[in-house]
Symmetry: C2
Subunit: 450 residues, 2 copies
């Protein structure tokens, strides 16, 4: 039998240590692939797909492996296609406000290149310094700026994808509008590598905002932090970020890396406004006034250096949490914005019921809360309570008209819960669509569907 | 055999005059249905679909029949489902910034209800006073405000749809983010009634902008009008509309309904900015300065009455054109924004080549140009030249990396040209997706695909 090494000589590894490293992602799930392939162009991806199709071997496209739900974790024996060799910034088309990139480009690299010509690509997942645009597209990644600027989907104008059989299809293109046939572009966005392999991305870009001001608002009372959100948008201002940290997140950060947050504060809002000179400082003052009237202590930063300082607490959350407990079960729920207080109450109840530590932070403006159950997977009894809590969290979320995943995807870790949110008919349609794109079932199998 | 009248007694008409009236839309294409059904709720739609499925009769969902490409024109003998009886505004959920509506609600009615509680639904197709939200979703309607606020797709959070066999599926919901499974919501948006029948729509709404200022900028030279667009966005301002009219459109309007536009002007930009008090007038002044530096004469309106006056010319274009010639072939192309000058040149060349009148107006900020070939379909020879020009226009559009439909859809009128833009593989995928949703082929057949 022909081997994948014959298809792309010199670009295939079967070394055990590499197979191991390409077998897990940030979800810490693990599989062992039979090979890791690093193509340099679309044609090579196409040849790998055609080989896999013919031989009925699974293929798993992989960006940086920074996904939280196991989207890039291979089934044992499958082929991982890794995009280090396809990370070019093909074009910044300034006149048309479009960037064309290969999937392996790092989000922050794209951002930096764009900034140097006064352009701006808003989606900013927490992993932006190392995650790839291909992965962002596959998961429909969000980030703090989504409240004002939307998510990855809102910037993908078109895609080049390799289908399961190796054929190449382009959807959309460089125009900001277009209604020619079905919206396959947005069907592919968020499909987690289960419908096609992304080989080129056309992205809409914006003019770089002229000015940014950051406010750190420290609330003695949680309920006032929550009240501030609708009051801010009622001013006619949509901040570029509206991040939220609860009491336990604050304490975790201060224990890990003291930045001077009061340990008795119940909540913090980290708010950023951007826009034209003049306009921005005016808006920052309006927001500061609203938060102050609700009892918050405010710190304002107008230059990049002080802004970075204010963001330190937010950026420190993830590592700080690992200081609290060895295992973090990180969920990514969304409720309609106005229902955040009810959800926070429900989370408190669930923590008490299961006698488990839950730390919350996230994107208050979107209703997107990152719920972190802090536990130890080696403590079987506690871990079981944590697992039970997950189901309760999803039940409470859905009862509040929410969704069990806002920006992390379903992947492996959430697939057992898919049926809690979607009806059988809905899942049936999705599976039938999957079958259209991948009749042999070789594209990232085992993901999304239970 | 059971008759559709038995399914929904009292809600089915087979009167010839009604069948005639429900047989055409704004494309002026015509078919004669066998029945018009006016359901009152989802269950009734479901029963109609189940009947049609069982008896293999085509069903055509219809809003106001204001579509430009024949999306709601029935095949002879099919059943039209008309949504006059499902036009309720089910809920304005102010706390969560979501509106829930039935498909038959008129766009402007929704806008007015929202405005009364200081909320805002941006998509504003020219037909907004009579078109329905169901039709807007089916066609992914745009409008002047798309440059700042996006199109219908960007506001649809979830849908309830009746599938071909009568089963009911809900996609998405009330959250602003969500990545649970494939994005069926956005697959259905713009699918022109060929995948399912929309029975409920969850829409994202925004805070109503506090203030609007309108500028009418009259340019002696076309090239300067085109230059103004990137100069405005480079200021860090995204206007809420950036509408464009060429010389012939200006003359047509002045002949039809004089509003005092100079007949020698080559182009007009109608620009609107919205936002907070103070901010808006400042931005209007910045835009006025840019346009004045490019030789434009500027009229500014800050109150609703004067704003309406400035919009009169833009609103008069469509009727004015019918004063010019009895038949208007209205195309809806988009080019990447920076390529508008090249497209305008190409259109001039095509008009000369075919010795035909072409009038252009549209959404300059999006690169979306409404190209109107003015002709007389009773003049066979001229009409043939006009038809030949259409193909040249599409060829020129695609050569400039554009798309042949920005917001009108494909429907009947553009389906012969689908293959000019999309590859066989791409169309093949779309047809296979269609087959998943509609295996018997009863949902709005004959649309989109040639």
């Amino acid at each position: 039998m022909e081997h994948i090494k014959d298809i792309l000589p010199g670009k295939v590894s079967t070394k055990p240590e590499e197979l191991f490293c390409y077998g897990f992602d940030a979800s810490l799930r693990q599989g062992i692939p039979s090979a890791v392939v690093r193509p340099s162009n679309t044609d090579e991806v196409s040849r790998v797909a055609a080989f896999a199709y013919k031989n009925k071997i699974s293929i798993i496209p992989r960006g940086a492996g920074s996904g939280m739900t196991g989207g890039s974790v291979p089934l044992n024996g499958s082929i991982v296609i890794s995009f280090e060799g396809m990370s070019r910034l093909i074009d910044i088309d300034e006149k048309n406000m479009v960037a064309v990139v290969e999937p392996g480009i790092i989000n922050a690299h794209l951002q930096n290149s764009l900034e140097s010509v006064e352009l701006f690509y808003p989606p900013d997942p927490a992993s932006m310094e190392f995650c790839t645009i291909g992965g962002n597209v596959a998961e429909n990644a969000g980030g703090p700026r989504a409240i004002k600027y939307g998510v990855t989907r809102d910037y993908v104008l078109g895609l080049e994808v390799v289908l399961a059989d190796g054929s190449v299809v382009t959807t959309g293109g460089k125009t900001f509008k277009g209604v020619v046939g079905y919206d396959l572009t947005r069907l592919l966005v968020g499909s987690e590598g289960t419908l096609g392999i992304i080989t080129k991305v056309f992205l809409k870009v914006l003019p770089l905002p002229k000015e940014i001001v950051t406010l750190l608002c420290i609330f003695p009372e949680m309920k006032n932090a929550v009240l501030a959100v609708p009051k801010i948008t009622a001013l006619g201002i949509i901040p570029r970020t509206l991040e939220f940290m609860d009491h336990d997140a604050i304490r975790a950060v201060e224990n890990y890396k003291p930045v001077g947050l009061p340990l008795d504060a119940e909540a913090i809002l980290l708010i950023e406004v951007d826009g034209r000179h003049g306009q921005v400082s005016e808006e920052a003052e309006m927001i500061a006034a609203v938060c102050a009237s609700l009892g918050a202590e405010i710190k304002i930063a107008e230059d990049a250096f002080s802004r970075k300082h204010l963001w330190e607490s937010r950026r420190a959350i993830s590592p700080a949490l690992y200081n609290m407990a060895p295992t973090k079960i990180n969920e990514d729920i969304v409720v309609p914005r106005g229902r955040i207080p009810e959800m926070i109450d429900a989370l408190r109840g669930i923590a008490q019921k299961h006698n488990i530590k839950i730390v919350n932070f996230g994107h208050a403006g979107d209703g997107n809360i990152h719920v972190n159950i802090m536990t130890d997977k080696n403590d079987k009894e506690e871990y079981q309570r944590a697992t039970d809590a997950v189901k309760d969290i999803f039940e409470a979320t859905l009862k509040l008209e929410g969704t069990i995943s806002g920006e992390h995807g379903i992947g492996l870790t959430k697939s057992p819960y898919l049926g809690m949110e979607l009806s059988k008919e809905n899942i049936g349609l999705m599976k039938a669509v999957k079958n259209v794109f991948d009749p042999v079932g070789i594209l990232n199998p085992g993901k999304i569907f239970p």
